[in-house]
């Protein structure tokens, strides 16, 4: 799609859409935007008004629907003139998704049905729903659904249509699952969502393909490109994908099964969704795309056949359903099949018949659903087996149901008869494969069953003797409940009697919108003379009556037949899918990090090997350097220590000793390879890490048991070996080659002294060239300490604390926890160590050293006190909290960095100068030193906070607190008379 314009363009398009609001002609008063938006706006009110009562909800829903309906009707004249009313708003031009609407006959017909029947449903539902049902929710969902439906039928952009399409799936999910406490409701809702949602997903693909064929997602453009589409190799995939959407939505075989289960919804929902709206969306779309998709053999065989099968199957099943709503549901399936079949024929007349039947079906089926709802409401059951004889108790309902059923059965002079007649007529002209009889024959069969279940609806519910065992005391409902169906049967009758006048023009404009051009002359009329279709109708009616009579026997046969139960299959599939997902997920993510790590390593190796072997290599460009004795010895020690560590790692103490060896050798190697700073850092970090690990190991088991089988260990060893070889090969290949380009560190060497004021280039890089890295680095360290502190707090606040306080050492402890020699040694060492730290700190800029190492050395000076004299004793003497030290470190570093701002220079720009005071030698002052001070403090604070936190785990009551040394003769003994040493000071 085109990438176009910018912000301004978008703004302009909004404005132009607003201009569209102005009427171009006198009639076009109500924008399509408003019509689509009204139900959505209306959806907000019931949710908000729920406190104001049930009537307020119903009123707000009704009024918005009515407004939309009126708005629609205002556009009627233009539609009848054959003009397409449009409203366009650019939404996402980049994608081609735009809020473009248009209203033609087809759209008008559907929108009218949606809004009109919607009004009736709103009325009906107000009286149908009980006090316990949350009415605000109901109307909100209903209007959301209604808006989505209106959106579908008015969209002029297939992506926009998809938006509304999926919205209907979602809102119907809410409506079907409205009675949350009913398992059928929940399952039905999920099933409907799964089936229609998946169809919608297929349709997304289909629509996108269609858009790509045509180069536009605007329906008005697509509909002009029949040849382009049908000649495209992508026609068939697009067709199938789009039809998948239509069939699932319109409950066509084999996706029909969701519809009966959606009957768990409150009856107003069923009446709405399954007469006029949701299930018709699929039909609408087939009709909408008819001009460009139909007329091919693919279309005919897929659509007509599916419709035919659905029609027959639905009719047959409907006859054997005892649940009133199930009966109606399968009848709906059947009638949807009928319309689908008609659309599939691909002829204009069939299209007219389809349109006409859509209207008729909507009227009688909505009336029937409402009647069934009334029966349910009044008798407390929908089971036909428990009903009968209601005509005396509920005469009004009986009348409504009777008329509607007869229309459904195709009895003249009702509207159902007219369209069914047209359908039968069309089947006679349709050849399936080579067969002329298949279509009419099966259509007749369906009509026959259709008549039968319609009659059954009347006979077994209303006729027959009055029963004494109704769950409730049935009587006709208040007018509010029967007014809506009554209105609909009035339509059923009047359309039947005077079809051309009532709906002729509407059918005409709608059908011409379907066919996309001129229509052959047609007139909707009751009497076509004696023809084959009439004969078929008669056979169907009589046959229906016969079937009704035979129903008992047939039912026994039916029940004896093994039938695949769609819900069972669907549930089994979903359950299997869920179980499979669970299996896959749990197997894949089984919580075994050892396996995750293995996958990580293997994958990395594979990808790296692939990258390497698909690349090119030149000959080495560097000479290999000789290895003197020292590195060979070091190498040997390192290999031996590593091997031992790997093989003997189960002895954890030994492993720590060996880690110490490795660290020592690595440090030595850094020294040897001209990296004294690294060596010092390495060894300092090493020692602190070992202290940490020892602190930790105190609580952990001292040995690692064998957990993996030999096979696993060998496998791991092989993987590790390959990784090792790979790494070695990589670094070796690197080292025997020169840089492909001069390195940037040449600049660092050249500018370290001039620009950074230091001769230790590594340090200047750390505090100046790449000071920002170091800034991040000390923050990492600070965070580490905070995390450790927070973890300590969390653990000590839990029940672990009790365990720790009562923990007994695993092996006998020696006496003399704080040996005198150690205490004295650390006391002597501490000032010297701090001296060393200071020295390391100050020389860092010019010689190996710096804030980081100094911080570690200082920290170790303090840690020695903790180790020698005990946690409590040392902690009591600590005067500055480590949190503060960390914070001040980071802040000093940051402040140093920000200081440069005052000179208009970037963060961390350093400054230095040489100062001479009096007789002193010249010395250097550098902001980098200040930054390094921040590093120093952050490191010191972080290490101390971490160690101190960890040490708190080991604290137990009874630990010596008042003395540093366990043995101190001077303290314990009476003053020696020979000595004049005062002992009064004592150790605090």
């Amino acid at each position: 799609m085109k990438t176009c314009n910018n912000w301004t363009g978008w703004k302009l398009s909004v404005i132009s859409a607003l201009i569209d609001f102005h009427p171009k002609t006198g009639e076009q008063l109500v924008s399509l935007f408003l019509i689509v938006a009204l139900p959505f706006l209306g959806a907000v009110f019931p949710a908000l008004l729920i406190r104001a009562g049930r009537n307020a909800c119903a009123w707000s829903a009704g009024v918005t629907t009515l407004l939309a309906f009126v708005g629609l009707m205002i556009n009627l004249p233009a539609v009848l003139r054959g003009e397409a009313v449009t409203a366009r708003l650019e939404w996402m031009p980049w994608l081609g998704l735009n809020a473009n609407f248009f209203l033609d006959g087809l759209g008008f017909l559907f929108a009218g049905l949606i809004l009109g029947i919607g009004l009736l449903i709103i009325l009906y539902a107000r009286f149908y729903l009980s006090r316990e049902d949350p009415m605000g929710q109901f109307y909100t969902y209903l209007l959301l659904f209604q808006g989505a439906m209106v959106g579908i039928v008015l969209s002029d952009n297939i992506l926009l249509l998809l938006v509304f399409w999926e919205l209907t799936s979602l809102s119907s999910f809410l409506l079907i699952g409205y009675w949350k406490h009913l398992p059928e409701g929940r399952q039905g809702a999920r099933m409907a969502l799964a089936v229609t949602g998946s169809g919608g997903l297929a349709m997304i693909a289909g629509m996108l393909i269609l858009g790509h064929i045509v180069g536009s997602y605007d329906l008005s453009v697509i509909l002009q490109n029949k040849d382009l589409i049908q000649s495209s190799p992508l026609y068939l995939p697009a067709l199938i994908l789009i039809l998948l959407g239509c069939f699932t939505k319109s409950a066509q075989f084999p996706f029909h099964f969701w519809l009966p289960h959606a009957m768990a919804a409150p009856t107003p929902v069923s009446a709405y969704l399954h007469s006029a709206t949701m299930v018709k969306a699929g039909l609408f779309l087939m009709a909408r795309m008819w001009p460009v998709l139909s007329g091919t053999p693919e279309w005919f065989y897929i659509v007509a056949t599916t419709g035919l099968i659905t029609m027959v199957l639905g009719a047959v099943i409907a006859l054997f359903k005892d649940d009133l709503k199930a009966l109606l549901a399968f009848s709906t399936v059947s009638h949807l099949g009928l319309i689908t079949m008609l659309l599939g024929f691909g002829t204009e007349i069939a299209a007219i018949a389809a349109i006409f039947h859509i209207i008729n079906h909507a009227t009688f089926k909505a009336a029937l659903f409402m009647s069934a709802g009334i029966v349910d409401h009044e008798t407390g059951t929908r089971d036909i087996k428990r009903l009968g004889g209601l005509r005396h108790l509920m005469p009004v309902t009986f009348t409504i149901a009777l008329i509607a059923s007869l229309s459904m059965a195709g009895i003249p002079p009702l509207n159902g008869f007219l369209s069914k007649e047209m359908m039968l007529e069309e089947t006679l002209h349709t050849v399936w494969g080579q067969s002329h009889l298949l279509m009419p024959g099966l259509a007749l069969l369906a009509a026959l069953f259709s008549a039968a279940y319609s009659f059954r609806f009347i006979a077994h519910v209303f006729l027959g003797p009055k029963r004494s065992d109704y769950p409730a005391h049935p009587h006709d409902p208040p007018v509010g409940l029967w007014l809506a169906p009554a209105f609909l049967v009035v339509l059923v009758v009047t359309i039947g009697l005077n079809a051309q006048a009532m709906v002729g023009p509407l059918v005409k404009v709608a059908a011409s919108a379907v066919t996309g051009g001129e229509l052959p002359y047609f007139k909707l009329k009751l009497w076509h003379g004696f023809n084959t279709a009439l004969l078929m109708s008669t056979i169907a009616t009589i046959g229906g009556l016969v079937l009704l009579v035979m129903h008992g026997g047939l039912e026994r046969v039916w029940n004896a037949m093994p039938r695949p139960e769609a819900k069972t299959i669907f549930d089994a599939v979903i359950r299997a899918l869920t179980r499979l997902s669970r299996l896959i997920t749990d197997t894949l993510h089984n919580g075994a990090i050892s396996r995750y790590a293995m996958i990580f390593v293997v994958f990395t190796l594979a990808i790296a090997a692939y990258a390497y072997f698909t690349g090119t290599m030149e000959m080495p460009t560097r000479d290999v350097q000789d290895a003197p004795l020292l590195p060979i010895v070091a190498w040997f020690c390192l290999i031996a220590a590593t091997a031992m560590l790997t093989f003997l790692h189960r002895n954890r103490q030994l492993a720590l000793v060996l880690i110490g060896v490795v660290g020592l050798i690595v440090s030595l190697s850094f020294n040897f390879l001209s990296a004294p700073d690294l060596a010092m850092t390495q060894i300092s970090v090493e020692v602190v890490s070992i202290i940490l690990l020892l602190l930790c190991l105190n609580f952990l088991p001292k040995t690692t048991p064998v957990d993996s089988s030999l096979t696993i260990r060998v496998r791991d060893a092989v993987i590790a070996g390959v990784a090792g070889v790979g790494t070695a090969a990589l670094i070796y290949a690197v080292m025997i080659r020169d840089f492909s380009f001069p390195t940037i560190s040449e600049f660092h060497l050249a500018n370290s002294y001039k620009g950074g004021g230091g001769t230790n280039v590594v340090n200047v890089i750390l505090v100046d060239f790449r000071g920002f890295d170091t800034f991040g680095e000390i923050i990492v360290l600070g965070i580490a300490a905070l995390v450790i502190f927070a973890l300590t707090e969390a653990v000590l606040a839990s029940n672990v604390r009790a365990y720790l306080l009562n923990r007994k050492p695993e092996w006998p402890q020696s006496g003399d926890a704080h040996p005198l020699m150690m205490v004295v040694a650390t006391r002597v060492m501490m000032p010297i160590a701090l001296m060393v730290a200071t020295y390391i700190f100050f020389r860092g800029h010019n010689l190996p050293g710096g804030g980081f190492i100094a911080g570690l050395v200082a920290a170790i000076a303090f840690v020695m006190q903790y180790m020698a004299s005990g946690f409590t004793w040392a902690a009591e003497r600590q005067r500055i909290f480590y949190h503060g030290i960390i914070g001040s470190g980071v802040l000093i570093a940051a402040a140093t960095g920000m200081g440069a701002w005052f000179n208009g220079l970037p963060f961390l720009t350093s400054a230095f100068g040489y100062v001479k005071i009096g007789p002193l030698e010249e010395f250097e002052l550098a902001t980098a030193a200040l930054f390094d001070l921040g590093v120093f403090l952050a490191v010191l604070g972080a290490v101390m906070l971490a160690l101190e936190s960890l040490s708190r785990f080991a604290w137990q009551p009874g630990m010596v607190t008042e003395h540093a040394m366990d043995i101190n003769p001077k303290r314990d003994d009476p003053p020696d008379p020979k000595s004049d040493q005062p002992t009064s000071e004592g150790e605090t």
Partner: protein, 127 residues
């Protein structure tokens, strides 16, 4: 003078090498654990000391400037080596000796490492 310096330096280097070797060799060779401890703590220390003196002399005679900072390392080692040894000895006593296998501890009754008392006094949890 220069030759004398070189001689001196070489002498110290060789002596230190020998002592360094002896220290580690002793660690291997001596059979009982307590004895093993002797060798490294002092021979090695002396070995390092020799190297350090050689280094000092080297700076004086060869590089012609006074450099004494090696003394600091010696100082550290002198302070720390006995403590390390002391600890390891204590470990040995803790693990491998009993009050009976050691000489009598005089009035104090027992050596500190064996002086294990159960102190059940509870005190407050530190911060």
């Amino acid at each position: 003078m220069a030759f004398a310096g070189e001689l001196l330096i070489s002498f110290f280097l060789i002596v230190s090498g020998i002592f360094g070797f002896v220290g580690s060799f002793g660690l291997l060779k001596l059979s009982d654990p307590m004895s093993r401890m002797h060798a490294p703590t002092k021979a090695t220390t002396l070995g390092v000391g020799g190297v350090l003196i050689a280094s000092i002399l080297h700076s004086i005679f060869i590089e012609h400037h006074l450099s004494l900072h090696e003394l600091l390392i010696t100082l550290f080692l002198f302070i720390t080596a006995p403590v390390s040894a002391h600890f390891i000895a204590k470990w040995h006593i803790h693990r491998h000796e009993t009050p009976e296998s050691l000489p009598d501890a005089g009035d104090d009754g027992v050596w500190a490492t064996h002086d294990i008392e159960e102190d059940e006094d509870a005190a407050d949890m530190p911060r």
